[in-house]
Every structure is written in C-alpha cells, then in structure tokens.
Symmetry: C2
Subunit: 485 residues, 2 copies
Amino acid sequence: MNMWTNDWPRLELISAEGVEAIDATALRILEEVGQRIIHEPTLEMLRGAGLKIQGDTVHFDRGFVREALRQAPASFELQARNPEMSFVIGGNHMVNSPTGGAPFVSDLDGGRRPGNVEDYIKLVKAAHMSPQIHCIDSGIVETMDLPQPTRHLDMDYLAMRYSDKPLMTGGASYETSRNGVKMAAILFGGAEAIEQTPGLIGIVNPVSPLVWEENMLGSMHALASANQPVIFTPFLMAGTSAPVTMAGGVAQWCAENLACIAMIQTVRPGCPVVFGGYLTATDMALGQPTQGSPEWAMGILAGAQMARHYGLPFRGAGGWSSAKTVDAQSGYETVMGIWPALLSGTNFMLHAAGALESTMIISAEKMVMDFEILRMFEWMLDPGLPVNDDTLAFDAIAKTGPGGLFLASPHTAANFRSALYRSELASLEDVNLWTEQGSKDTLVRANERYKAILEAYEDPGLDDAIDAELQEFMAKRKSEIGTST
Amino acid sequence: MNMWTNDWPRLELISAEGVEAIDATALRILEEVGQRIIHEPTLEMLRGAGLKIQGDTVHFDRGFVREALRQAPASFELQARNPEMSFVIGGNHMVNSPTGGAPFVSDLDGGRRPGNVEDYIKLVKAAHMSPQIHCIDSGIVETMDLPQPTRHLDMDYLAMRYSDKPLMTGGASYETSRNGVKMAAILFGGAEAIEQTPGLIGIVNPVSPLVWEENMLGSMHALASANQPVIFTPFLMAGTSAPVTMAGGVAQWCAENLACIAMIQTVRPGCPVVFGGYLTATDMALGQPTQGSPEWAMGILAGAQMARHYGLPFRGAGGWSSAKTVDAQSGYETVMGIWPALLSGTNFMLHAAGALESTMIISAEKMVMDFEILRMFEWMLDPGLPVNDDTLAFDAIAKTGPGGLFLASPHTAANFRSALYRSELASLEDVNLWTEQGSKDTLVRANERYKAILEAYEDPGLDDAIDAELQEFMAKRKSEIGTST
C-alpha cells in the first residue's frame, strides 16, 4: 500500500453547534429548494424511488439521504496494477494526485502552449517518479493535438501505459467514463476484478448552485453501475455560484454532495463515494476565484469537517494558485492551501502538483516545486519529531558540552542521513555561491530538476497481451465513434 | 490594545510523555552538564544564590529553576506611546514584528546594498503602516552608514520617531541596551513609567550549545534591572549547534531558556520573559540552516509546546527564507513557517516580514508580500468562518434557486464588502489581462505596493519636548562614547 498516514489532530474552525446548523440548512436545501436533474434516466430512477419531483427539480427528503449515507463506505481501496502502489481512500490516510483538466501546459523551454501528447507523456512520467504522488490523473493535461471525441481513450491509455499507480479517469460523460471503466477492466483482468476492488476513480461535478446536467450524470451512471468510486466536486465561489457568506456555501456544498451520494447509492448501493469540492471567494471586480486565500484555506477545513460529520472520505484541493508564473505568489498560495489539506485530514488531494492560472495550465516547474513541498509535509508526518532516548541525545550533549560543535559528535555521524530532511530544490547556499552558480531562482532550478526527473524515469512496462487488448479496444471504439486516427 | 487573538486549537506533535522526557533531559543538562557564563558579575550573582560553579561552568539545580519559573509572569503588557497600539504578550494573543538584524537591504530599484538611514526610515514607515505589524524592531536593518559604536542610539531613536507602535530594541550589550532603556524612559515619562508597564523589549542570545557571553549577559542585566522584558533566542541548528536529532535540540533549547530565566529572575524577580528561539536543520553539505523546512516548522510547534509546559509566552520566528530573491521559494518557505506560528500559539512572531537570505537581508518587496500573507492569516482568525442565520443564507439560496447566480442576490450586495477577503497584492486576473498589464510577477507588484505604502505614510508625530530630550540624550551619549557625528 502506498499512502500517507496522517495522525495529526484535525483543525476544526466550526463548532459542534455550527456543524449541526450547517447540516440542518443542507437538509432544508435538499428538501425545500431541491436540485435540477437534467437527465431523464436519473429522473426516472428517482421517481421510482418515490422522491417528490416538480418538472426537473427533485426534492431529496432526509430519510432518503440518510439511508444513502448508511450505504456509502467510510473508506475503500483503489487498486494499482503494481499492488505496492494500491492505496486506501479514507480514515487517517492521505493520497495525492497531480492537477487535472488543464488545457494548457508550460515549461521554461517551450513557454505556454496547448496540451499535447508529448508533454502529456512527460508529465505522467514525472508524476510517476514522484514518491509523493500516489495517483495518476488521466487528465493531467488535455492532449489538444488529438481529436476531441476520442482523446479520452488515448489519455486513459497513456496514463495506464507510463505509470503503474492507481488511476483517476478524466471521463466526463457516459461515453467517456464507460470507456475508462472498460479499459480499467482490461488492465485488471475483467469487470469483476474492478467491481470487487475498484480500478479507477472518477469525478462528477454539479453546476453550482444545485444543477446536475446530462453528461455528468451519465458519467456518474457509468462509474457507479460498475462500482467504481466517484468524487463529487462542486466548485463553489462565494458571491457567484454560492452565497457570499461562507457558512451558506458550506451548507450548499453539503446539499450538493448529499444529493449526488443519494443518486449514486440508488444506482448501486454501497458504491464508494468521496465528499469533495472547493469553496472559495470570488474576486468581485474580476469575477475570478481566489486560491491560496483565507476562504480557500477555510473552505478545505470546513468541507473536511462536514465530510467527517457524514462519515465519508474527503477530497480537497491542494496547491492551486492564481499566479501566472512560478513566482512568489505561486509559492505562498500553494502552501496556504496544502497546510489546511493536512490539518483537515483531507483523504484525497487533487491538484496537489502543477497548477497555475487556477488550473488553466499545468506548469512543469510548478509541479516539481510542488513535489518538493509535498516531500516536506511527508517528512513532518514521518518521521516527524520522535522523542526517545536516542533522539534526546543526552550523552551527545554532555560529551559535546558548552561551546562544543555537534558536527564532530559520533551521534551526528550516526544519524544525520536519516535525521535531517534534505531539499531537492531549495537554494540554501549563501548569496556569493548562489551568484557564482548563475543566480538561479526557483523557476530555473525546478526546470533543471524536471529534466533530471525525466532522465531518471524508470518504465514500469505493461504486459504485452494487456497492451494489445487495450489497443484493440481503443481502435474499435475510435472506429465506432467515427474519428479513427 | 492592538494584537491578534488566536483561539485555534494548538497543534502538538509531541505526546505528554514526550514533553515530560524532554523536560527531564533539560533538567539533567542544567544540573549535570551546566552552562558557561562568561561574565564575572553574573557568576558572582549566581555564586551568591548558592549554585554549584566550576570555573565558569554553572550548574543550575532544578529547585532554583523551578523557583524562577514561579516568578516569571505568564503574560505582560508592552506599552506604546499611542495607547491604542499597546499589546499583551502571552495567553491567546499574537503580535508580529518585522525581521531584525539584517546588515543588508534590497529593493527592485536599488538592488542589494548595505543598510543605511534612508532605507531604515522607509522600512520603519512601511512597518508602521501595516496593520498586521504590531511591534517595531529598532534593528529592522543595520544603518551601516552610521558609526558602529553609536548607531544603536540613532536606530532606537528613528524607530521611536517614525512609529508610535511598541518597540523592540536592537541592543546587544550592556551599553546599548541601557541606552535603549533610558530612551524608552524619556519616551514614556520616566524610569518608573516603564518599570510599571514595560516600554521596550529586548533579546538575549546564548552561543549554543550552552554558552552565555559577556555582551549578551550585560544586555540582560541592563534590561532586567529596569524590569524590561527579555526574549531568549538560541539559534539551534540540528547537527552543528544542537544534536542532530530534534528531540535533543528541544531539550537543549529548554535548558538554555530555563538558565536565562533563572538568571533574570535572580536579577529582578518577576521580570517578564519570553521563551524563544529557533530549532532547525543544518544542511550538512553547505553548513547552512534551513528555513521553511520540515524541521523549521516542527521546531516552532515543539518550542511553543514546551513554553506552554513552563507557563511562559512563546516567541517564534515567522517568514524566514533561505531564498536569495522574491521567488517561489521565498513564498513557499514563508508560509511553511507562518502556519506553524499560528498553529503553535506563538505569542510574539519575530521576523514576520521581510527576511531573505536567512535574514542577511531585508527585502522591501518580501516585506510587502509578507504583509499580505499576514493579512490572510488575520482574516482566518477574524472574521474566520462564522455560522449564524445570516451567514447560512438559506433565504438567499432558496431565492437564487438551482442555476441562479448569487451575484444578483440582495444578500450578496449587502455582505460582499465585509464577507470576502480582498488581496492587495495577488494577481487574480486572467492571463490575457495579466499580459496586457505587463506580465508583472510578485516582485514587481510588491515593489509598486511598497511605494504606494510609503506614499500613504501618515506621520504619527513626536512631542517636541520629548524629541528634544531624546536628541539631547543621544548627543551626550555620543560625545561620551567619543564618536559624535
């Protein structure tokens, strides 16, 4: 199993009464306001379940929602084709996935450009090589150089081909998610193998506030009917897609998540789900969301606290940034968001590496910087700050004595390799040496490190027969979709 | 009163048993290893107090230390000449002070250069204007263009002249700290006024491990005999000035702090003290300390936890960075350190703004970026995420309904100004607008903001009679020291 264990106490900014009040408001939204379900098969299913429906507005009553919550597991495993890379989502575990969904990519050498297959493969390779990245997002960048209707097949395939870590599919419609499920079935030896232990995880988003449209619900059906886990991701911007006051946003967030959980448990009782989403502020002058902002940080803490209330795993966002380049803003916004991820007990951190421009681009250098930041948090979780006779080092202190230098102590020689964190990116040298070596800022250093990571890439390989089967499936689907390349 | 209130739960990485083990080790260090006291008057005082002394190594027994701990107050007030700016150090309060002690200054316009009076005044003005900076450090930058033996007088004076916030003196010897105390007495209307409510705070550092030299102990006597609070600041680098394993560093840190507290309470029972210092890693290849690293963050958490154990206020470090410029590293390292400051319940955050190159320089742009980062944390403390009927906004959600836009809601219009944080620095615009406006990164944006802050500076003035008295005192001392300028 490959995941973090986060035994830190949770930082909860909302009181127990506050949680109850938010939950009560969420239930009122579910029952009294309702949610638009723009998908006839889902409406039919919910009608069959006895819900009150007016037009396409469905009122989810609390009994129905509570029953769904009872059916959803508190944690579940996601399998990797390399069993050592499998992980658990939930409990005190945490896993990280790179940013997903960006249409653009950038690096220092080639600048900002549309996503493409060449960069896609490099990015997957780099994510594969980072021990702090546990999951591969098949939407790590859009391959804009491939035909739109079928590129999801190539993207899922390339993620499967170049990494043996668990997979998040970028699928966002019935067709695309169903294809992802079928390819995962091929990868893991059949539909039953992934029904028992899920082989990919997908995302379903409402259009906030309170609307679920056809493609997303189709994707939900494709995933849930195969028992593949689904993360819900409302994007709540206080003042535009959510109330301007955060507490109302949290309530709406809960209402949206609970509705989708109820739908999924109706499709497939027991299907694993992840309470997810973002809640942040809108910059009212620009109409843009803020990231690494106070609302962003508090949104992560609040969402995770509510997920805990409902007994569900939580998916938060990691190092998003509004910055346009790997500048100081990109650094401070990222860490503004990653501390709360740890403090909240986030179980699945999406967008944990690479995001700039509010995920409009994935930056190779930003990704490498984020790897380093994640490594630092990993170190704080393990080894942390162990206290025992050896680490208390009384004898070393006594022998070194007042005015002595611990550099010369046998205790230092015996322990420094394991006791001290060593950055792979930061400039720690003094300014003279730094200047001598070319005054390299983080962007330049990260660019060098990105190339070194790609140099060091170790191909996990892919079984020939499985590869052939995947290729065959893709060829067939492409020909059916009618844009064979 | 001008300070933050931090009611967040404390993040404690060390178990209760771990705290006891560290305390027990600290007491063994105090008693068995002892500490070198290179200052005859202090040795004489400690001899008089009945301590065991061999050469200049003093063994502090636990009874003596515990009695000192009983005498030291858990919190105290530091007064400002503007009473609204006074604050309390201790309890659940937090105050921020800019970085101090840097010999160099830099900004985008003038580059890196030795500290000087002109920049000194600008930096004090900017710190004065930031609502997130509560204390002015008279060592905000060294005025290298003034004669060394007397520049401490000018620096204390300029800090008093251009800000009416409480003052930290840069004094680091008996002579310099005594002058600071005398000037504070003039500022506040006499020695008695500052004996009752302290009028400046100073710092005393050991040479770790376990050595206290003459100048620092002289400074300690000058401050403590006038009942002015003292912060202790060991700089513990795991592997050089402290054991390579952190727990031993924490124990040594406690031993050094407890020794100095015992000395201070012997000079002046009840004198306010602050448990302080840094504990971080040494980069073993470069011999440099790491900042914004895992050890840095855990050091803050551990130090504050021990200070709480001893019932003392805690002084931690804020946004130190090893970066050489306002690049991404400077951003991520800063926030890596400021989250733990809040999570640890740090009471006095020194180096909260401006530090680069491990505080070898104060950067104007870094300072402005840090102001912004501090503003974000302030927002999370207050207003935070209040939950009540108005913020839950059920009516707004019901009226906006599925698919609606909250931008049009009267609830948004009524609340957006107070509900949403607004950055004064970050780039939130989309990439096209950003490019149109000159592709300004954080360094450029912060430079513009620094100039705007200085433009907006409001002089708090200084009473003419007090000003004249301060000038007279300085002239007299300069002539006595023999380097009148």
